[in-house]
Amino acid sequence: MAAAESYPPELKYHSEHDWARIDGDEAVLGITWFAQDALGELVHYEAPDEGSTVTKDQPYGEVESVKAVSDVIAPLSGEVLEVNRKVVDEPETVNEDPYGEGWLIRIRLSEPSEVDALLDAEAYKQVVAEQ
């Protein structure tokens, strides 16, 4: 069951259709409703290794649907603390709940000031509207 379109106001967004939930010096990352809708039902999530580092604006993983494969772009830099195993096992979780159960990784921020450059929900909605 696909989720309804939404862009929660408490999240920060990257124009490559990724979101970040900031919690102190950590963040949980995922892809937005728009991204999962464009891909269709996900069948594979190629996750980074825990302990590896991700770099803002660079790909850290891949999400693949029956029709397409897409890089997942990191909205922030940091060390991967945790990979969401539920999504590795059941990638369609992202389609069902992109901002909740369908999160992709949790990181420790190496450059917390990068948060300032992210979009808020209203600004991201503008990005989506222009697609």
Binding site: V43, H44, E46, E62, E64, V66, V69, V88
Partner: protein
């Protein structure tokens, strides 16, 4: 007389990955088509492999965007629907 050097074989992925057209198969081969099978919940495909390694059950290693992923050769059809009453 020479027989064919390569053979087209159906395969099923043993690791999580979706094979796609053009991906190299280790040992000298190539995926000609591939997708995700919802019925098997695995990647499946067809590919050319050297005749010497084309036996059913033989293991293949497919280069999925730089990552080696295991598969094995199966008999056709890859999936056969069970008769429904």
């Amino acid at each position: 007389m020479h027989g064919p050097e390569r053979k087209l074989v159906p395969f099923v992925m043993d690791e999580k990955a979706v094979p796609r057209t053009g991906m190299p198969i280790e040992g000298g081969g190539e995926v000609t088509s591939g997708t995700h099978s919802p019925m098997l919940d695995r990647g499946i495909g067809l590919g050319y492999v050297p005749v010497a390694s084309a036996a059913t059950g033989n293991e293949l290693t497919i280069d999925v965007r730089g990552r080696p992923r295991r598969a094995h050769i199966v008999k056709r059809p890859i999936y056969e629907r069970e008769e429904t009453g």
